[in-house]
C-alpha cells in the first residue's frame, strides 16, 4: 500500500509532462486529462487514508524510500516520503480541493486558447504541493516548496499579455525569494549543526530523540526564525505579505486553489511540521505569534477597504492564515487547531473564491463590487454557496468556521498571562472585523439595488448562473464549509487524529470556554450589524467616497508598497548603482588592465620568436646551462 505514496505525486506530474510535451494534439481533451490525473491522485489519497484508518494511532505514520537522491559522503538526501496524519490531512485537502478546482476550471477557462497550458500548470502545482507535504526531509520539502513557487509564478502571470499580471507574477516571485532564502538558510543551519536535514534525525521519531532536542536554544531560535521567514514568504504574512493582493491578477481558480486553499498554507504546515524546533525555542515561538496576530489584523483591515471582490477576499485570506500562524505559534496548545482551521478555511475560502469567479463570469469579468448589487436573483446557486461560505468564515454557530476559529481564540487566551490576554483580544477583534468585511462583500454583491451600467459601447452585462462544471464544485465545497467543522469538533475527533504527530496540551484559560464562545459571537454580531448599517440600509455609491485616512491607507494595502519602496527598493537601487560603479570602474578596470598586460607581454615575448635558427639554438643552449646549473645548485637544498 505504501508504494502508492510516490504515485500521489507522480500522477499529476505525469499529467503536467504529458500536457506540456503533448502539443496541440491534446488541446481538445487535455483539460479533462488533467482533471482525471488530479482525481486519480485524490483516489490514491483516499485509498491510503482508509488504509491508515485501519491501523492503530501509533502505527499510522509510514515512510517510503524511493531512491537515494543525493548520495554524497556525509551528505545524504533521499527521495523518501513520509505519510502521517498531518501529511494525510494535507494530501486529502490538496488533491480533493484541487480536483474540484480542476473541474471548475473546465468551465471557467473554456474559452481560453491557452487552456491546455493552464491545466498543465495546475497539475504541476498539485505535484509540487503534494511533494511538499509528503517529503521526509527538508531538502525534498524545499524542492516541493520551490515547485509550488514556480507554479504560482506561472499561474499568476498566466495572462501575461496584461502588464499588471506580468508585474504581479514577478512581484510574487521576488517576495517569495526572500522567504525561500530563509528556508535554505534554515536547511544549511540544520546540516551544519545536526549533520542532517531529514525529519527523523532532526525532529525525533518514536523511540528516538531528534538532534533538535540536544541543540542549544540559540541555534534552535536561529533555525526557527529562518523557518518563520520562509513561512512568511509563502503564506503572505507580515512583513512579506505584499504579493498576495497583486496575485489576484491570476485566473480565479488559481486564486482559489493556490492563493487561498493550499499553497499559502504551506507556511503553517512548515511551522507545524517543525514543532519540535519551535517548542524548544520560545523566542522563535513568540515571533511566530506576533507575526500571526499582526497579520490577522492587517489582512482584516485591508479587506475592509477593498472594492475589488478578489482583493477583499485576498485580505481575508491573509487574515485567516494569520489566525493559523497565531495558533501554530502557541505551541502544542494550538497546532491541531491551526491545522483544523486550515482545512475548514480551505473549504470555505475556496468556495468563496469560486463564487467570486462565478460572479465575475456572469458580470463580464467585472471585479468592482460597487458595480454589483442584487445579484442573488440572477445567480441563485452562487448566492447560496457563497452565502454558506460567508456564514462559515464569520463563524456562524454550527458552521465550519465557528468551530475552528472559536478553538483558536480559546487557545490564544489559554496561552496565559498578559500575552494570552493580548493575543486573545487581537483574535476577538479580528473576528469582529472579519464579520464586518465579509458582510460588506456579501451585501455589496448580492443585496441592494443593481448598480451595473452599460459601458461606452452600450454593452451592459447580463448576469447569469454559471455552467454545471462550475456550480458543482461550488456546491461540494459548500458542503465542506457547512459540515467539516462540526465533524472535526465532534468528540474532538480531529484533535485525536492529529495528536500523535503534533502533540496536545490544554492551556489554563482565564476565561471559561463558554465565555469565549459568547464573546466571539458578540463580536461577530457587532461586525455584521455595523456592516449592515453602513452598506445595507442606505444605497451604495458607485464612486467610492474619499473616506477616512485609515480607509485610504487600507485601500493602498496599509501603505505596504510605499513602505517597501522607501525602505528596501530605494536603498537597494542605491546600493546596486554603487556596486555597478565599482564594478565597471574598479573590477573591470583591473580585469581589462590585466588582459592588456598579458597582451602586451605576449607581444613583447613574440619578438624573441624571430625565426632565426641560431637564436633558437642559443636559447636552447642558455636554457640547458640554466637547467644544469640550477639542478646542481638545488642538490644541497
Amino acid at each position: 500500500m505504501n508504494s502508492l505514496i510516490p504515485l500521489l505525486v507522480a500522477a499529476p506530474l505525469a499529467g503536467a509532462a504529458l500536457l506540456l510535451l503533448g502539443g496541440r494534439a491534446l488541446d481538445r481533451f487535455g483539460h479533462w486529462l488533467a482533471t482525471a490525473f488530479a482525481a486519480l491522485s485524490f483516489g490514491f489519497g483516499l485509498a491510503l487514508f482508509s488504509d491508515m484508518l485501519g491501523r492503530g494511532a501509533e502505527h499510522r505514520a509510514v515512510t517510503q524510500h524511493l531512491f537515494s537522491w543525493v548520495p554524497v559522503n556525509g551528505f545524504q538526501a533521499d527521495m523518501t516520503f513520509r505519510l502521517d496524519q498531518l501529511s494525510m490531512t494535507f494530501v486529502l485537502l490538496i488533491s480533493g480541493v484541487g480536483t474540484l478546482i480542476h473541474l471548475y476550471s473546465v468551465g471557467y477557462m473554456a474559452h481560453d486558447e491557452r487552456r491546455r497550458r493552464f491545466f498543465a500548470y495546475l497539475n504541476l502545482f498539485l505535484a509540487a504541493m503534494l511533494l511538499l507535504v509528503v517529503a521526509d526531509n527538508y531538502l525534498l520539502l524545499y524542492f516541493g516548496w520551490e515547485g509550488v513557487g514556480l507554479a504560482s509564478y506561472l499561474l499568476i502571470g498566466f495572462w501575461q499579455h496584461k502588464p499588471s499580471a506580468a508585474t504581479a507574477a514577478k512581484k510574487a516571485f521576488l517576495v517569495n525569494r526572500v522567504g525561500d532564502m530563509g528556508l535554505s538558510i534554515a536547511i544549511m543551519l540544520m546540516f551544519t549543526e545536526f549533520g542532517s536535514f531529514a525529519f527523523g534525525p532532526v525532529l525525533g521519531s518514536e523511540g528516538a530523540v531528534g538532534a533538535a532536542h540536544q541543540a542549544s536554544e540559540g541555534k534552535l531560535t536561529a533555525i526557527g526564525l529562518m523557518l518563520l521567514l520562509a513561512a512568511c514568504g509563502k503564506s503572505a504574512q507580515v512583513p512579506l505579505q505584499s504579493w498576495l493582493g497583486d496575485a489576484m491578477e491570476g485566473p480565479t481558480p488559481v486564486s482559489a486553489l493556490i492563493h487561498a486553499a493550499t499553497m499559502v498554507t504551506a507556511g503553517v504546515y512548515l511551522i507545524t511540521r517543525s514543532s519540535a524546533i519551535f517548542d524548544l525555542a520560545p523566542d522563535a515561538q513568540t515571533a511566530v505569534v506576533v507575526v500571526g496576530a499582526v497579520t490577522l489584523l492587517f489582512g482584516a483591515i485591508v479587506g475592509c477597504a477593498k472594492d475589488d471582490i478578489k482583493k477583499a477576499l485576498a485580505g481575508s485570506t491573509m487574515s485567516q492564515i494569520g489566525y493559523m500562524v497565531l495558533a501554530a505559534g502557541l505551541g502544542p496548545i494550538g497546532y491541531a487547531f491551526a491545522i483544523m482551521h486550515l482545512v475548514t478555511h480551505g473549504f470555505f475560502k475556496a468556495g468563496l473564491f469560486l463564487g467570486a469567479g462565478s460572479v465575475m463570469h456572469g458580470m463580464d469579468d467585472e471585479v468592482n463590487m460597487r458595480h454589483y448589487g442584487g445579484l442573488r436573483k440572477y445567480m441563485p446557486v452562487t448566492f447560496v454557496t457563497f452565502g454558506l461560505g460567508y456564514l462559515a468564515i464569520i463563524g456562524f454557530p454550527g458552521l465550519s468556521g465557528f468551530f475552528s476559529k472559536d478553538k483558536i481564540i480559546e487557545a490564544a487566551f489559554a496561552k496565559g498571562g498578559t500575552e494570552g490576554w493580548i493575543l486573545g483580544l487581537c483574535a476577538l477583534v479580528g473576528a469582529a472585523v472579519t464579520a464586518f468585511y465579509m458582510t460588506r462583500v456579501m451585501v455589496l454583491t448580492f443585496f441592494g439595488e443593481k448598480r451595473w451600467q452599460p459601458d461606452e459601447d452600450g454593452n451592459a452585462p447580463h448576469p447569469h448562473e454559471s455552467p454545471k462544471t462550475m456550480t458543482i464544485p461550488m456546491v461540494l465545497l459548500a458542503f465542506g464549509s457547512v459540515f467539516a467543522g462540526g465533524l472535526f469538533a465532534f468528540n474532538d475527533s480531529f484533535l485525536k487524529w492529529l495528536e500523535p504527530v503534533t502533540g496536545h496540551e490544554e492551556g489554563n484559560s482565564p476565561l471559561a470556554p463558554l465565555t469565549v464562545t459568547l464573546l466571539t459571537m458578540a463580536c461577530m454580531l457587532a461586525g455584521v450589524a455595523l456592516a449592515y448599517l453602513m452598506y445595507g440600509r442606505s444605497p451604495v455609491p458607485v464612486v467610492p467616497p474619499v473616506g477616512s485616512p485609515l480607509t485610504r491607507a487600507a485601500r493602498r494595502d496599509l501603505l505596504q508598497d510605499d513602505f517597501n519602496h522607501a525602505v528596501l527598493v530605494r536603498p537597494g537601487s542605491a546600493l546596486t548603482a554603487t556596486l555597478v560603479f565599482f564594478d565597471s570602474r574598479g573590477l573591470d578596470g583591473f580585469v581589462n588592465g590585466l588582459a592588456a598586460a598579458i597582451g602586451g607581454l605576449s607581444g613583447r615575448l613574440r619578438r624573441v620568436q624571430n625565426g632565426f635558427v641560431r637564436s633558437y639554438a642559443l636559447s636552447m643552449f642558455g636554457g640547458t646551462l640554466v637547467l644544469v646549473a640550477t639542478t646542481l645548485l638545488m642538490r644541497s637544498v
Partner: protein, 545 residues
C-alpha cells in the same frame, strides 16, 4: 650482465659471445610496424606509380591495426598489467605504461594516416588526385622540374613508410629500458619526422625551412641527450635505467671504481639535466620550444597533427620512465627545476598564444602550454601522476589530431587558409565544421563534458596530491589565459561577419571525415564517460624495473 662484465668477457680467453635472446612474439607490435615500413620501401621500388597510393594506405593501415591488435593481446595476456617483464636482453620494457602508450600511439597513427590518405581537398594535378604532399620532394620549389612533376601527377608516397618508421621508433621510445635503446629510438622516430616536415605541396619553401630548423635543433637536442647518457654511464657504470636507479639509491653492489665515481653527484645531476633537455625539446617545453610554432606552421598539416599528437605521447612516455625508474631517488634534486620548467612552459605557452594570428601557430603554442600541464602530472612522482599523464595523453592526442584535420578543410585558392582573420564567420557558412572545431577548442580549454576537462582535472589532482599546489594554481591561471584565445576563435567563427572572398570549407573524403569523427567521439566519450579509461590508465600505471 652489466657492461663491465661484457668487457671483461671480451678481453678474456673465452671467445664466445652469447647470442641475444629476443622475444619476437612479445615485441611484435614494434616488429610489425618496422616490417610494414620496410615493405613500404619495397612497394616504392616495385609497384607501379599509379597503384602505390592505395597499396601504401592499405599496407600502413593494416600494419597499424595489426600492431594495435598485438598490443591488445599483450595487454590481455599481462593480466591487468600485473605480469610485466623486460625483453630483448633487458633493453625493452613490457609493462602497463608501455602498452598503454603504444596503444595510444598506434590509434593516433591510424587517424593520422587517414588524414595522409586524403586526396579530395587539393585540386587534381596532371589529371590525378593529389594529396597534401609535394609532387616530387627533390625538385626545386618553383622550378621547371617541379612543374613537370606536378603535370605528371607524381606523388610522394614515401610518406607512408617514413611515417611507419617514425611510428616504430615512437613505439620503442616509451618502452626503452636503457639509455642507448632510448637514444636509438629517439633518432629512429626523429629522422623521418624531419623529412616529413619538408614535404608540403603548397608553400614549399616554408616547409623546407621548417624541416631544416627542426633538424638542426633536433640534432642539437639529441647531442645533449647522448652526452647525458655518457655522463650517466660514467656515474653508474650501466645504461640500464633500473641499474642507474639502484646505484643512485645505493642498493646496487658497487665496485671500487663505481664508488669512486659516485662520491660526487655532479656527474649524475649533469647527466640527468642533459637527458631532460633532450626530452623537453621533444615535448616542446620552454625554453626548448622555439622550434614548435615554425615547424607546426611549415609542415604539411596532416604531418603536424601526427607529430603534435604522437611525438608528445612517445616523449612523455620516455620522460615518465626515465624519471620514475632511474631517478626517483633524486627527485628532491630535479623536482624544483622541473617546477620551474613547468611553470614557464604553461605561462609562456598561454601568453604567447594570445597574440597569434595563424591558426597553426596558435595550436602550436597551445601544445606548448599543454606540455606544461602534462609536466605538472609528471612532477607528482606518484602512481596517480603516471595514470593521469597516461589519460591526458590519450585525450590530448585525439583532440589535436581532430583539430588539425579540421584545419585542412578550410581552404582558399592558395591552399589552406590558416590566417585567423579568414576564419571569421565560419560558423555561418559551415555550422557543422565550425561546431566541431569549437568542440576541439573547448576540449583544449578544458571545459567540462569534454576529454580536456577530465585530463586536466586528473593531472592537477595528481600534482596537488603530490604536494605541488602552487603549480596547480599557476596551471589553473594559465588555463584561464588559454581559455581566452580558444574562446576568441569560437567568437570569431560564430559572432563575426564573414569576409567577402573568404575561404571555403572543402568537402573531404571519407578518410578525413572518419578522422574528425573519431576525434569528436573520443573527445566527447572521454568527457562524458571517462571512468573506464581512467581505471585502465590507473591499472596500467606500474613500471617494470
Amino acid at each position: 650482465m652489466n657492461a663491465t662484465a661484457v668487457l671483461a668477457a671480451a678481453g678474456g680467453n673465452t671467445p664466445s659471445i652469447p647470442a641475444p635472446h629476443i622475444e619476437y612474439g612479445r615485441l611484435s607490435p614494434m616488429l610489425v610496424v618496422f616490417g610494414v615500413a620496410v615493405a613500404g620501401i619495397l612497394v616504392e621500388a616495385f609497384v607501379p606509380r599509379r597503384y602505390r597510393h592505395w597499396t601504401q594506405v592499405t599496407l600502413a593501415l593494416a600494419g597499424l591495426i595489426g600492431a594495435f591488435v598485438a598490443v591488445v593481446v599483450l595487454a590481455v595476456q599481462s593480466h591487468g598489467f600485473t605480469r610485466i617483464d623486460l625483453l630483448a636482453m633487458e633493453s625493452v620494457a613490457l609493462d602497463g605504461p608501455a602498452l598503454f602508450l603504444q596503444g595510444v600511439i598506434l590509434l593516433a597513427s591510424v587517424v593520422a594516416v587517414l588524414t595522409y590518405a586524403e586526396r579530395k581537398l587539393e585540386p587534381k594535378a596532371g589529371g590525378l588526385p593529389a594529396d597534401a604532399f609535394a609532387a616530387q620532394a627533390a625538385a626545386t620549389p618553383g622550378g621547371e622540374q617541379e612543374r613537370a612533376a606536378v603535370r605528371a601527377g607524381f606523388a610522394t608516397t614515401e610518406v607512408f613508410p617514413l611515417t611507419m618508421f617514425a611510428v616504430g621508433g615512437m613505439l620503442l621510445f616509451p618502452a626503452a629500458n636503457d639509455l642507448l635503446t632510448m637514444f636509438v629510438a629517439l633518432e629512429v622516430f626523429s629522422l623521418p619526422l624531419y623529412l616529413l616536415c619538408a614535404l608540403a605541396r603548397r608553400r614549399r619553401l616554408l616547409s623546407q625551412e621548417a624541416a631544416v630548423k627542426y633538424f638542426l635543433l633536433g640534432a642539437f637536442a639529441s647531442a645533449f641527450f647522448l652526452f647525458g647518457t655518457a655522463l650517466l654511464y660514467g656515474y653508474a657504470g650501466s645504461v640500464k635505467l633500473g641499474d642507474i636507479g639502484d646505484v643512485i639509491s645505493g642498493k646496487a653492489m658497487t665496485t671500487p671504481a663505481q664508488l669512486a665515481s659516485t662520491r660526487s653527484d655532479v656527474l649524475v645531476l649533469t647527466g640527468l639535466a642533459m637527458l631532460a633537455v633532450g626530452l623537453l625539446f621533444k615535448v616542446a617545453a620552454v625554453p626548448f620550444h622555439s622550434w614548435t610554432p615554425d615547424v607546426y606552421q611549415g609542415a604539411p598539416t596532416p604531418v603536424t597533427g601526427f607529430m603534435a599528437a604522437a611525438t608528445k605521447v612517445a616523449a612523455f612516455g620516455a620522460f615518465l620512465r626515465l624519471f620514475y625508474v632511474a631517478f626517483p631517488g633524486l627527485r628532491l634534486d630535479w623536482r624544483p627545476v622541473m617546477w620551474g620548467v613547468a611553470i614557464l612552459t604553461m605561462v609562456v605557452g598561454a601568453v604567447l598564444a594570445v597574440t597569434q594570428q595563424d591558426v597553426k601557430r596558435l595550436l602550436a603554442y597551445s601544445s606548448v602550454a599543454h606540455a606544461g600541464f602534462i609536466l605538472t602530472g609528471v612532477i607528482a612522482v606518484n602512481k596517480q601522476g603516471i595514470s593521469s599523464v597516461l589519460f591526458y595523453l590519450l585525450a590530448y592526442s585525439f583532440v589535436t589530431l581532430g583539430a588539425f584535420a579540421v584545419v585542412t578543410l578550410v581552404r582558399d585558392s592558395k591552399g589552406e587558409a590558416t590566417h585567423l582573420s579568414s576564419w571569421a564567420g565560419l560558423g555561418r557558412r559551415s555550422p557543422l565544421v565550425a561546431a566541431v572545431f569549437a568542440l576541439f577548442l573547448l576540449a583544449f580549454a578544458g571545459i567540462p563534458l569534454t576529454s580536456g576537462f577530465t585530463g586536466k582535472f586528473a593531472v592537477f589532482q595528481a600534482a596537488a596530491s603530490g604536494g605541488a599546489t602552487p603549480l596547480v594554481i599557476v596551471g589553473v591561471l594559465s588555463s584561464a589565459v588559454a581559455a581566452f584565445f580558444y574562446i576568441r576563435v569560437i567568437v570569431l567563427m560564430f559572432f563575426s561577419d564573414p569576409q567577402p572572398g573568404g575561404p571555403t570549407v572543402a568537402i573531404p573524403s571519407a578518410f578525413t571525415a572518419t578522422a574528425i569523427g573519431v576525434g569528436v567521439l573520443v573527445t566527447l566519450g572521454l568527457g562524458l564517460l571517462p571512468q573506464y579509461f581512467l581505471d585502465l590508465a590507473s591499472k596500467a600505471s606500474l613500471f617494470v624495473r
